[in-house]
Symmetry: C2
Subunit: 395 residues, 2 copies
Amino acid sequence: MNKMRKIKGGVCAAKGFVAGAAGCGIKSGKATRDDLAIIFSELPAAAAATFTTNKVKAAPVRISAEHMRAARVRAIVLNSGNANACTGPNGLADARAMAAATEKALGLKPAQALVCSTGRIGVPMPMPIVLKGISSVRLSRAGGTPAAKAIMTSDTFAKEFALEVITHDGHFQIGGMAKGAGMIDPNMATMLCVVTTDAIVPAAALRSAFRESVADSFNRITIDGDMSTNDTAILLANGASGISPSPKIFSHALDTVTRALARMIVEDGEGVSRFVEVEVRRAASKPDARRAAKAIANSTLVKCAWAGGDPNWGRILDAVGYCGAKMNEAKTDIFYDELAAAKNGVASGTPVKKLRQIAAKKTFRVTVDLKVGKAACVVWTTDLTEEYVRLNLGE
Amino acid sequence: MNKMRKIKGGVCAAKGFVAGAAGCGIKSGKATRDDLAIIFSELPAAAAATFTTNKVKAAPVRISAEHMRAARVRAIVLNSGNANACTGPNGLADARAMAAATEKALGLKPAQALVCSTGRIGVPMPMPIVLKGISSVRLSRAGGTPAAKAIMTSDTFAKEFALEVITHDGHFQIGGMAKGAGMIDPNMATMLCVVTTDAIVPAAALRSAFRESVADSFNRITIDGDMSTNDTAILLANGASGISPSPKIFSHALDTVTRALARMIVEDGEGVSRFVEVEVRRAASKPDARRAAKAIANSTLVKCAWAGGDPNWGRILDAVGYCGAKMNEAKTDIFYDELAAAKNGVASGTPVKKLRQIAAKKTFRVTVDLKVGKAACVVWTTDLTEEYVRLNLGE
């Protein structure tokens, strides 16, 4: 018998993890808020990580990927206010120095720390204040929330989620934190996520569970279709609970955490006024289902209509038509929540007023039934508001 | 010796073409402005046409494609206010009836008229008033501008362009009209274009010249990345000038007309405050160059930065990184007009203030030099403003 219950906290909800934050003044030179965080596993840990697939990769992404190959990770240092992206060889040296300073402060071996950065791009990292900040961080079990706050940029709330999972052998904990895929005052979108668990999970199983979990959570959300140079998601498992859950139990708990964090990221998207779940059903293939769902979720016109509370199914059908997925206009149905907007490619007859009531809600679901196969995909997205444009006009 | 000069007019600039418009009240039921146009070639004409590649195709697109295969086209009937898209079998019958009524009014044989519609989608065409409008249109040499006005939706100006081309045998005329790729009060983007010429051009040569010309003009612009269900471009050549220009001369004149109209469409995009020419150079292949240019031009974040006059090269590099084109961050240069913003993937050292002066202009050029091959592509696009969102919030 297995049960999960939501508990307080994030990256320190699991045993044997401590965290802390410091204010360095990375963005402005003035330390008005925490902008640096360290997470540390007191025990050796198995690690899994996924990084942006953008060909333009920030320096911390390159260094973290290198350290993932080299050694057993024990610590993560994260900062907001500067993405250390598009900074050339000096940026790589800076990311390396941030890892080294963290390793030194914690008495670790080389390549045992990962680095995550988010913030302005193309700007050199202000290393003296960052190194000073790293040496000043005090780690404790209470440091999870300060760490989640320190990585916020345009996020309006800190994103933490944790579970206690009860197995027949005993219980383990899993929890995490994330920062949102909004614009980075005033540069590019970045998603960072760290999940920790005290379950015992072998490294290979951890990596495959995490890969699948990320694919079904963070890789299924989109705010604006712009993939960042800094996206990083990390999972550490230190075994401190003494529990070895079955792969199924562990994956279920992990998926619950990653989905909860992914949902928070979308709900806190910049200028967002609606959270929309887009489901494409009965597509010819998985890639087709995903392509259609992403085309709808990233269509400027569809997103603007949602912002106005307009259930414009024509724009949705249009996006499905140009995305490249196999489809037949004359077979396609479109629903807002449970109400049909279009049946077989034409207006369903449902009064527009009723559809409008759904499209004006804060959260709703759009379902597109292609009737050409058996594959499905769900994507979470937002509307596109004037506020979003205003936030991203730049400096 | 060949010379071209810009002349007044549009679809009636070439000899043997007449046009006219009528106000039917297609959208609102009230005929407050012209919303129907007919263009007629007094002589038999060779025809070429390109249609949307969206799998969701409006009824007039399907009927026009059918008529292009069947017969020698002599007339085009166009309307604004209703796209006749996503209207099922009834919509097809309506488009067919519009063609038939036009053929009858002009004494033509079946399938000699094409149909173009733009406006609301998913709404039945109000056929009684449309058919009455078709029978009321009076055609004349002076009808070009009224026709160009009748197809406007959210366009702020009528788009016409014409040339007189002087060859050593004499001169011919070529001219056209277009409507913009803006949102259709409140539905989807549609681009319509008709070009006419009195040059003698064999049908096969006409088709190949038009295909290439459309690829280098209308297919290289983007306002919002949403491809319409109704996009149609038509070229008629009736030979009335008695001149048979060389393919080179004809293509040059045709390209000048299509590019001028394409540029007008972008300049009149909804809520636009900047016209941006994006050039990607030294890409590994033509498709790569196009993919990178389109990714930049359609990036929500890049377009928002431009709206704010922010020369945010990081967002541009980010878009090139995720578009799938072969690239190496450490080799990539980015320019605003002639000024380097980034060299080899890092800030160029050009003062941001100077770059900002360029990004705040109404028209500027962004060049991305990938240095991985020899292919290039130029795309024309716009910024993304709060006004655009406001215009597209829906009903």
